[in-house]
Amino acid sequence: MRLLGCGGEIVMITQMQVKGLMFDPYNNAYIVVLRDEDESEMLPIWVGKSEASAISLALEHVAPPRPMTHDFMKSFLDAYNAKVISVVITDLNEHTYFAKVHLMYEDSEYAVDSRPSDAIALAIRSEAPIFANDSVIRKQSSEELEQWLENLKPDDFGKLDS
């Protein structure tokens, strides 16, 4: 899918589905796994415990006794009939993901800067689609490779020699 970027350039985006949440014991964090429709691309996003719980409650359609932070966020938007149209994971820079929440309010469209965890937690509650810029998906695979290379110990090279 094509989307016009802020500078007028064409940005390619791919719709992603939340496939699940995994615990990453090495980083003591959670990974939100996004996949595209034909499952050819994968985007793992590391989030904290409370952000993971906000996403998991929405995925499982659990209605907590009191509104949690993202339910409150949705109530805030609902109070004035502001609608979440979509969320886009826009950038990846030094292991930090950036996202935009696209909203419709009184016939105008707004794009609000957000962390992907908030954007995803809100998108699921609003039944809004989640997209990722294709450049993020490409960058993700190269950052992943970089991280893998960084984790290589001298011993690993030794093994190659023998």
Partner: protein
Amino acid sequence: MTDTAQSNAQDLIPLSVSRVVEDSNTDTRIIVLTRTDDADTFTIWVGAPEGDSIRRALDAATPPRPMSHDLVKSFGEHFGITTKRVVLTDVKSSTYYATVFLENKGVERSIDARPSDAIALALRTHAPIYATPDVWKRRSGQHLDAWLAKLDTKDIDTQEV
């Protein structure tokens, strides 16, 4: 919405957030609210992420990326929705209830919230925080000051070791 939420603004007890105390045993935070007209205090227990969010607002700390309540504030700024006031409206089996009063172009709306989310937003938007006289009467933690002082001292000791 409860009847108490609609009670006269004159009857409401104005509160300010004095501090956020860490309760490391239970991974919760204690929010100490002080009555602005006579310095009497009131405490509520909130979850660690919500408590930390309130602390960041108190410290006027700007995180590198917008946190959840910063995002709510940002939505308000984009749409011209202002947070008029936050009222702690009820307490049932030790659970406090809050109502956030919003305004946009003269249209007022109120939303149900946990006190933690309501306070986290109020501090970011410089909106006043109140409790209804009924909630104030039934508040917990009237005698917690001494205990909190002790807890603070203990925390300092631990850090020095």
